[in-house]
């Protein structure tokens, strides 16, 4: 079966051990988590895990089923890239002298639609949000000049379809 990128959105109680439980589900099936983000959600006291995996339809269904089965998980959804609006963020730390000595650098900043977060005496920091390939492109452009530090976040995503959590929570309470 063909492998695809999937984004899972897991709504859950905010519980100490839950991340361990969820990551164990991937571990047991020898499936790599490509990116993971944990945040609050649109509902009070409900957390949201956003997990990206590269796998087949069958496996994503299996995993979502196993995740949803965990007591503290309210509901898990999965979507293909077409079905979501998604982004990642990255920070680049670059030596300050480059900003002044290399004319190219200024162009890259402009073209890449990134923001300067801070400029210090020795370094400046650029922030960039977007698709993974846009961030990768920017990375490649900066690489020849030297990147002091680089970090990229996990994917965050919202689905085009509605995710009906509030209704579900009411249902569960009977």
């Amino acid at each position: 079966m063909e492998k695809k990128w999937f984004t899972m959105s897991v709504y859950s109680e905010n519980n100490v051990g839950l991340l361990n439980r969820i990551s164990g589900i991937f571990l047991k099936r020898h499936i790599n988590i490509e990116s993971l983000n944990v945040s609050k959600s649109e509902i009070d006291n409900v957390s949201k895990f956003t997990i990206v995996i590269y796998t087949t339809d069958k496996w994503v269904q299996n995993i979502v089923g196993q995740i949803e089965k965990q007591i503290e998980v309210i509901k898990a959804f999965y979507h293909t890239d077409d079905e979501t609006i998604y982004q990642e963020s990255a920070l680049f730390k670059i030596a300050s002298d480059l900003l002044f000595d290399e004319r190219q650098i200024q162009n890259i900043i402009k073209e890449s639609n990134s923001q300067i977060v801070t400029v210090a005496r020795d370094f400046f920091v650029l922030a960039k949000s977007g698709k993974r390939n846009e961030i990768d492109e920017m990375y490649e452009k900066f690489k020849p000049f030297g990147i002091m530090q680089f970090v990229r976040s996990g994917r965050i995503s919202v689905s085009k379809e509605e995710m009906k959590i509030s209704a579900l929570l009411k249902d569960f309470q009977h």
């Binding site: 051990g17 361990n20 007591i71 309470q173």
Partner: protein, 577 residues
Amino acid sequence: METLKEKQTESTTKKTITISGAEAIIHCLLAEGVDLLYGYPGGAIMPVYDELYKFQDKLTHILTRHEQGATHAAQGYARVSGKVGVAMATSGPGATNLVTGLADAQIDSTPMVCITGQVPRHLLGSDAFQETDIIGISTPVTKWNYQITTAAEIPEIMAKAFYIARSGRPGPVLVDITKNAQFEEFEFSYEKCTGVRSYNPTPKPSPNAIAAAAELINSAKKPFIVWGQGVILGKAEEELKALVEKAGIPAAWTILGASALDTDHPLNVGMVGMHGNYGPNLLTNECDVLIAIGMRFDDRVTGRLESYATQAKVIHFEIDPAEIHKNVYADVAILGDAKESLNLLLPKINKNTHESWHNIFKEKYQIEFDTVIKNDIHPTKAGLTMGEVIEEINIASGHKAVIVTDVGQHQMIGCRYAKFKQSKSNITSGGLGTMGFALPAAIGAKMGAMDREVVAIIGDGGYQMTIQELGVIFQHKVPVKIVVLNNDHLGMVRQWQELFFEKRYASTVMVNPDFVKIAEGYHIEAKRVSERKDLKETIQKMIASKDAYFLEVKVEQEDNVFPMIPSGASVSEVRLQ
């Protein structure tokens, strides 16, 4: 959690008393109807044991000889009684010794609550004496687990633990309690848990799915039912029988489904799976509608998935949504409790008989009888077979015993030939295949059904994995019957070596001790049978005994279990020899 709290504050008239966390644990157990638990003390759980001492008139604690024994005893108790089994252990090694039982209960959906002591909260994460991260260790093998670090959490968490263990698809829950929480005094009141907002244990069957299932069943020419433990856990034995009889459908069981329908019921066509019966395995690939009820298409049942029932429409009755389409695609999936779903289905089912289809099962049975069964239960060779021992136990117990099997050849033979008239009579480690399960599980089974005969059937290998539990049988005078089928080998592994590794018997030959003397050392009446002429009489004597009894039967050393679906083969490739 929120809901629980809300629910608790809503209920106004609650009695509160000021007690220690340790005493609170006892009150929680009593409130959940627990009167028996198994365990082993140690430093981090001593405050609770001190309370057990004070409450011994209300709550019986059985000291097993190893914490693994405590879990299997709790499992045996739960499986036979339908109640939640409880096991207790100290931190560190006590807790890690529970892991096998937790994994077994998880894969076999057995309701169990394990309570472990933990180092005091201020020492957590300091590598204190006997500190181990049992929450981390037990996470993959529990339905839920939780670490309590203050006494005030005890009532809510204990209530939730029992609720989760027994509801929906049951399973094991572990509650780890730091020692400071056991000592702390607090205002105790107890409220049973009736719901957890993120957890929907019993989905409601969809009327559309029920209608679709009825239509498929009513138009089927060669329908075939395979049921599993879900029927027993869902107390749907009567509904299963009603469906089988009304629609005239041949029905087979997975190993954990055994005893839900009378073995001698004319439409009960036997066991499916690796060492199941010939007909049901073979005909799985000939039926037109496969009705799976409370079973999860384990690989030991399906053989090679790509050639499992591909010709059939599959209807899957299942309580756990994660099982739907997991291994076998379901054309119709009915999510819900088996009893409720079958009750909705039954009125929509037309009366039918499928005589010519059923006759094919009978023909296949005859073939299996002539080539395998006859020689197993009425052997003509000199050496004793496991099958004839089971047959004598059937006769002596009148098909009424609870049969507890360990893991290996004797387990397959035991489950193939034991006859049952009553549900919850077949206790075995199915999904995990845990050697050492049977002896402690039989203790738990007997204590969960004191009015029933309990016979443990164990191999010489598995027996020695938990043999120390004879101490419990002796100390508490538990009248279980223990039958060791001694082939002086790790028989099942030896069989695979014979068939697939050109008889290279690597580490499967066992030089065994004098089992009779060992049993006698525990003051248990014991006997060894090596010849056929002594078998019947000894088994009758054993069954008639009011006390525990140990019987060693020296069986053929190199017998094999057939039929067999070699691993990775299709159910159609089931071998008779």
